[in-house]
Symmetry: C2
Subunit: 253 residues, 2 copies
């Protein structure tokens, strides 16, 4: 049974020179964060590290002991720059072994695609004792080694792996959110935001300004594990904005 | 004079609950990474941390001593959840003071926009001894405190702040890159990638697979500080792909 009073936390390591060079816009942070939220697990920290063994090992060791779950994305493919399995194994003090079920899955997948080469067999390597995470898209599985969950770098594949994990991780109450938008400079309503947040101890209000259509505006996101308090906080904020002469847009702009 | 033989490195801290909740897709990592690359500075690590004082302080202290430059994005606005200035000041052991020039800039900016309120004056607060980074878009400046550069969370504003810093930071040789694309499963050419990279000691090859139009393909990105070696490596890789019966697409797919 899930303990709903405890807060479950996770961290994410994004492995990839392509993110650090600016060439690729990361899509996994938002994807993993959103999925974790639905599982009742809070993403508390993300680190983006290069395809360098020591950098990955250091991040894994720093984060796996601090959080209930540690996710990684990237670096589990068949090429020479895919070293996440080796780095996680090293961090956990385990040897790398070929997982028989992963090997069988890959043999089947590649039977009609040119066969299981040595490079492809790399994708069956796991830290000793690890479990597999199903991936119906491309054959190569994700990996669970202790509390570390290794996902693909390609966002569509990671989506399938997360799907395979849905409902299997213990979590707490999901953090809900609702948004109130307003065509106002956030600096005009900073006092209102602070006092409203102060009046609802189980709510947080984030203020996210933007420029759109040549005008300034902001979305105010109210987060809480209590839907009742969240809605009461949103209503109080909307009334406050109206009292200051601004139109509050439920759901955000 | 720039020392071109030395490698200059940077780290980035993205401050923001909105990224960790999955609500907002970060755009600053790629933007800052690309800009740094042009300045001849390598982005080596990114951390995304929540709007929590201790989390920001810890990340600032871990990263500012490891790298030539540390950038932050987010948390320098006028609202209660904007605490990056306070956290950086604490990490540097400096008091927070109102910067006279920032105050004057904000007074002028808000003269026709309702005046400089207490909330807006928050945006003139800096760690003692800090310099300002110009922002022609919205009045509120970026901040340089020692080797820490505080940028806005709104990507358009950060773009203006980076523009204000262009050419002012010391860097080394820019890392160049060129891409060779191929409609091939990366696992089919893993050996070719490894041997080609091995033959060019000053080049790195990253392999980035994708699914598109119902087919698998990959882009192979060759990075080097030497344009000649980079182009020779790309040519060797393209010839190798052709020899294996695949079409190499210069510039990537």
């Amino acid at each position: 049974m899930t303990d709903e009073s405890r807060i479950w936390t996770a961290a994410l390591i994004v492995v990839g020179d392509e993110i650090l060079s600016g060439r690729t816009h990361d899509k996994n942070i938002a994807q993993v964060a959103t999925w974790l939220g639905v599982q009742g697990i809070r993403l508390r920290e993300v680190r983006v590290v290069p395809d360098v063994m020591d950098a990955i090992i250091e991040a894994v060791n720093a984060l796996r002991v601090r959080h209930d779950y540690l996710f990684t994305t990237g670096g589990i493919g068949p090429t020479h720059d895919d070293i996440t399995v080796d780095a996680v194994a090293e961090a956990l003090g385990k040897p790398v072994v070929v997982h028989p079920k992963a090997r069988a899955t890959l043999e089947e997948y590649y039977a009609t695609r040119g066969g299981l080469t040595e490079a492809r067999l790399r994708m069956a390597r796991v830290p000793e004792g690890a479990k597999l995470i199903e991936n119906r898209l491309s054959g190569a599985p994700g990996i669970q080694a202790e509390n570390v969950y290794l996902m693909a770098g390609v966002p569509q594949i990671t989506a399938h792996m997360l799907d395979g994990l849905t409902g299997l991780l213990e979590g707490g109450l999901p953090l809900m959110s609702t948004t109130v938008g307003c065509w106002v400079a956030e600096s005009e309503v900073a006092d209102l935001l602070r006092t409203t947040e102060g009046a609802f101890v189980n709510c947080q209000i984030g203020s996210y300004p933007f420029f759109r259509e040549g005008r300034v505006g902001a979305n105010f996101v109210i987060r809480s594990t209590s839907e009742d308090e969240m809605m009461a906080c949103a209503a109080t904020l909307s009334e406050g904005l109206t009292a200051l002469g601004h139109e509050a847009v439920a759901g955000g702009i």
